[in-house]
């Protein structure tokens, strides 16, 4: 993934500062995203999950293509060389797609990597692409904005916030959201409490009895609820049994 190849350098550079800016911006969709929308007229959004640099100025990209109806990707006669596709989840029209594409068709990724900005989320619609990235400071923001504006013609900043910790790079948020979205608020609270208390540590920092006491429930109730959470997470990974 690009973040494997490039982000670590950027991460180390960013982490040397005490505070960063997380910035959300949008610009007209172009490049490989436009190609995918042209190939799949049913597609509504494309999310970039990862990008790996390859030889010959190409990149292996991992994207999620969401559609309003059954999706057909007909990428013949384009620069997109599809390696693999699979349904993202049952009951939706989203597909994970792995494809090889020339670097010049992913100018945002190249610009962010060149400027050592860390991408967190990149989502495209046929009209606009929205990206959330971390930059070091105001000057770095200007440099990144200049590079993107140069590639895409225009840039609209949507929002910014000050952060003291770097968020996960591309893909991580999607996985977390997918997992967390399957759990109820009380289940998330239970899981977070158990995690924070070190219940899952090896060796354990908190026993079932200690965790149950903190949550003010009986150990047997705690075990039952934890098994329900574990079962739900297994369903996310392996599908319904």
């Amino acid at each position: 993934m690009l973040s494997n190849a490039v982000a670590p350098r950027a991460v180390s550079h960013l982490m040397s500062t005490q505070s960063m800016l997380r910035v959300e911006f949008q610009f007209p969709t172009s490049g490989i995203a436009s190609t995918v929308f042209d190939c799949c007229t049913e597609a509504t959004t494309i999310e970039l999950n990862n990008a790996l640099p390859l030889i010959d100025s190409r990149s292996l990209i991992f994207i999620t293509v969401s559609a309003s109806e059954e999706l057909t990707i007909a990428a013949e006669d384009t620069e997109l060389d599809i390696v693999h596709t699979q349904p993202a989840s049952a009951g939706t029209h989203a597909h994970y797609v792995v494809a090889s594409t020339p670097l010049d068709t992913i100018p945002l990724v190249v610009a962010l990597a060149t400027q050592m900005a860390v991408p967190h989320q990149v989502t495209a619609t046929p009209a606009n692409t929205t990206a959330t990235v971390s930059v070091r400071d105001w000057e770095h923001l200007k440099q990144v904005a200049d590079a993107i504006e140069h590639e895409h013609g225009s840039l609209e900043l949507l929002g910014t916030t000050q952060v003291d910790r770097l968020s996960p790079p591309l893909g991580s948020e999607q996985i977390r959201h997918a997992m967390a979205g399957q759990l109820s608020a009380s289940q998330l609270e239970l899981l977070e409490t158990a995690y924070e208390m070190g219940y899952f540590n090896v060796p354990q920092d908190a026993t079932v009895a200690e965790l149950a006491a903190t949550l003010d429930i009986s150990p047997s109730t705690l075990s039952e609820r934890l098994r329900r959470v574990e079962r739900t997470l297994c369903e996310v990974v392996f599908g319904p049994s």
């Binding site: 505070s19 105001w138 923001l141 949507l158 929002g159 000050q162």
Partner: protein, 128 residues
């Protein structure tokens, strides 16, 4: 160091002035700018002065372009520009409107940016 404080709504006034109080020294002048609503300036001035800060009001202006703001900041040699955040995105980021984007990407001004809960603080400004 002179500070320009650009207020844009009547929301969160106390919190904004409280934040300004943490970044401005007592002897430093604060110039309040409230485009098109000069009538509120007097009360805001009182609020600022009540915190012991030195407050100077600016002539009301309808010119709220980035160029005008930067020109004025340079005229009074402002080392700091504080701009009220109008609102936040659903993800909690401070929303960037045209004026703030103009300031953020302005070629002839550099410095340090800090995004607080209710204001952007552009500090240690250097004018090209």
């Amino acid at each position: 160091m002179t500070t320009l404080l650009l207020l844009r709504t009547t929301d969160h006034r106390s919190a904004i002035i409280e934040t300004v109080d943490t970044v401005v020294s007592l002897t430093e002048p604060v110039y309040l700018i409230r485009p098109n609503k000069a009538g509120s300036i007097a009360r805001l001035s009182d609020d600022v002065r009540a915190r012991g800060l030195c407050c100077a009001t600016t002539p009301p202006t309808a010119d709220t372009t980035v160029d005008a703001l930067v020109r004025y900041a340079e005229t009074v040699n402002a080392g700091r520009i504080c701009v009220e955040i109008r609102d936040h995105t659903p993800a909690g980021k401070a929303r960037v409107d045209d004026l703030v984007q103009g300031l953020l990407l302005y070629d002839d001004i550099t410095g340090k940016l800090r995004v607080h809960d209710h204001i952007f603080v552009f500090a240690e400004l250097v004018y090209a």
